[in-house]
Amino acid sequence: MNMTVILITLVLLAASSYYVGLKKSVSIQKSEKLHSAPIYHGSLIAIYSLIVSLLFISMWRLFENYLYPEFSLSKNLIFFLSLLVFLITALIVFLKIEKNFRAREKVENIIEIFLLICSTVAILITIGILLSVIFEATRFFSMVPITDFLFGTHWSPQIPIREDQVGSSGAFGAIPLFTGTFLIAFIAMIIAGPIGLMSAIYMSEYATKKTRDIIKPLTEILAGIPTVVYGFFAVIVVAPFIRSSGEYFGLNIASESALAAGLVMGIMIIPFVSSISDDVINAVPQNLKDGSLGVGATKSETIVKVIIPAALPGIIGGLLLAISRAIGETMIVVMAAGMSANLTANPLEAVTTVTVQILVLLVGDQEFDSPKTLAAFALGLVLFFMTLILNYVALNIVRKYREQYE
């Protein structure tokens, strides 16, 4: 007997038991006053019996192989047993229906418990991330010492098949990846920081409401474009442009460069920076601005000397959030920055990042006993904690700042 057939049958049974409960309570209602409305009696029968029989089925599925392996073959047995469980529970609840039966409270309790269970899913996801990343990363660190990983300067994850193979030494020094990641994030912030901040200042202090209403959604379009589209833009427009302008100045620029990836990532982050700065600047109390303007400062003087200092913690928090966004971004760098792990601060060379290497190591063949595949999880662990710390610090700064002015 198919699982879906069992489920459909149970749902149909639940629907009919709802009507049975409804009928009985309606007939009681004709003569006496009920505690709960008839629909609650009906729903209680349906929900209760459904839950109990589903619990029964899942318990059976969990333990059938341990307890009664000889039964596990007959799927019909579980079908009839679950129907039996359903009908017994329905009968018990049915018999309980009378004028003082508190069906509504019971239904509401079940609803609240269901909501509580749903809200614990977020915790389960975090645990899932931690378990999967930490478990595989520990296996990796048992093969490659953690100090070699964190402080090594040579990254070449291909494991040599022959002894004398050139170019693949199986070295897992992640420093070049970290420098590459921060180099690209740095370039992105050089673009996005000033542009985002200045547009936020203009929007909140100078622009009329009308221009604000037009411009703001337009800049927010930038935030809604998928990152893979930015990656394509980097490959097809920005990288060739940088290359040809480099040739014009006599520079030889690789077709995949940190500069191209960083520039495009900067464009992506502009709306992020500007919307956070906008919130933060708007939270600065009006009396601070009025005071400054009142003693004769110009608008720009007020902004530079009063509003920005007052909003500084919030702005820094926002920039930190933007950096964490840049560090975790994958598609732009994978398409535009390249795969070669160079330890360099030169933005015109190809670099690679933590996210790119995770992807490169995991796409294609995976063997879960080789350090090459497991290294991706170690990188994931580093990435997870890096962004976690950045976010924690940033959110705390922003929250403290908000409380200051509330």
Binding site: V228, T298, T330
Partner: protein, 419 residues
């Protein structure tokens, strides 16, 4: 102290910086759209060549069996080649002929096979059939290959150009709407490749995402906003978790999918089912946070009114608060789904990045998604694929625009609700 003049000048400069920043951002946005549109709009047309095909009984069905199972093994490739030769009878020599065959896509053979399969009575007759042109010819016709370049710098040599110009002068070559793009899967030949696999993959994955993350997300938001006890350590812990998950890089969710869904539960690789599950983990906080904001902005008088008339807490929430908050919660959900539609990094990790020709029939068949297809094709240097990549981006952006407009419409409705 600075004098007034320089202070005013400074003020003007400062204001100009602001305007420059905004125009820079908007210019970049415009360049992005223009470059994608200009690369991609030609991909919505394909080039077809009219081929006079003689469905020769000798080649197709020499024994007059009229049995498709025998006919399908016939030499359709030879039939196509013969038809091309009929078009240009003057071409001779082995290498010249081989070059001539190349102006037509290799899919012509299958197209003609299908025609015969649909109507066996066609055998023996002569028909003019529009077959797909090769991608190089396609590029030339669309103007992506410059005819005035010296011969050794373009992908079409002078002789091929001569043939094509003959076809043009006889009106035997034309551009039509590119149906192939929307009805076929991936292919190594750009003129035969399409996005149907990616479209269906995106659809299946998003359905799974919606089914999983919408109920759980809304339930969580309702619990935290309406029922959770205040100042409870456990509730605080849930909130911290949700806020952190919203900031976790998407690729980490891919690692979770790989380690838990694929390795531990042994679910199929490359399947939209797993893709949707991974996306739903990612989308969950993005649904919860705006849904809570929507619930919070419902005026407390609504709830208090219901409670005052004797409704229970659950009744007040479900019958009075939720209906008002629904458009607001849907806005957040749609935006979350739009982000999930554009996401690709975690899907690459769980193996939804593959060369898939067959149309997926269900949630567990291997498929790609639109963003992944963009990533795959962007890697291919051929001009034909560049054009198609930009076209997929345009299709993806159209979906995103539609979803976001719906979200904006619902937000307007919500704002009307609460005021």
């Amino acid at each position: 102290m600075n004098n007034l003049k320089s202070r005013i000048a400074k003020e003007k400069r400062f204001k100009a910086y602001g305007i420059i920043s905004i125009t820079t951002a908007l210019t970049l946005l415009t360049i992005l759209f223009i470059s994608i549109f200009s690369q991609g709009y030609t991909a919505f047309q394909e080039t077809r060549i009219q081929l006079p095909v003689y469905f020769d009984q000798e080649i197709l069905d020499p024994n007059k069996t009229n049995d498709w199972n025998k006919i399908k093994k016939a030499n359709f490739n030879g039939l196509v080649k013969q038809s091309i030769r009929n078009l240009f009878p003057e071409v001779s020599g082995r290498s010249n002929k081989r070059k001539l065959y190349k102006i037509i896509s290799s899919s012509a053979e299958y197209q003609i096979r299908n025609i015969v399969n649909n109507d066996l009575s066609i055998i023996g007759s002569k028909q003019n059939i529009w077959v797909l042109a090769d991608d190089d010819v396609d590029m030339l016709i669309k103007g992506n290959i410059n005819r005035n370049l010296p011969e050794n710098e373009r992908r079409i040599d002078d002789q091929e150009l001569m043939w094509i110009e003959y076809l043009e002068s006889e009106n035997l070559i034309k551009k039509v709407f590119n149906k192939t793009l929307f009805t076929s899967g991936d292919s190594s030949e750009s003129e035969q490749s399409g996005i149907l696999v990616a479209l269906l993959g995106s659809l299946y994955a998003l359905l799974i995402t919606l089914v999983l993350s919408f109920p759980i997300g809304i339930a969580t938001a309702v619990y935290l906003e309406e029922f959770a006890p205040k100042d409870n350590k456990f509730v605080d812990f849930i909130e911290v978790n949700i806020n952190n998950l919203a900031a976790v890089p998407s690729i980490i969710f891919g690692l979770l999918g790989l380690a838990i869904f694929l390795n531990f539960f042994e679910m199929p690789r490359s399947a939209p089912l797993v893709g949707g599950m991974v996306l739903s983990l990612m989308t969950l906080p993005r649904i919860i946070i705006p849904a809570r904001a929507a619930l919070k902005s419902v005026p407390p008088s609504i709830r208090e009114g219901a409670l005052g008339l004797g409704a229970s807490n659950v009744q007040a929430v479900f019958n009075h608060v939720l209906p008002i908050a629904t458009p607001g919660m849907l806005t957040g959900t749609i935006i979350g789904m739009a982000q999930a539609l554009g996401e690709s990094a975690p899907l690459l990790i769980i193996g939804m990045v593959a060369f898939i020709v067959d149309i997926p029939q269900g949630f567990t068949d291997p498929a790609t998604t639109l963003p992944v297809q963009i990533f795959l094709w962007a890697d291919t240097p051929e001009r034909g694929f560049v054009e198609r990549t930009a076209a997929v981006i345009m299709v993806l952006l159209i979906f995103l625009v539609l979803m976001n407009s719906l979200a904006i419409y619902l937000r307007k409705k919500f704002e009307k609700n609460i005021t």
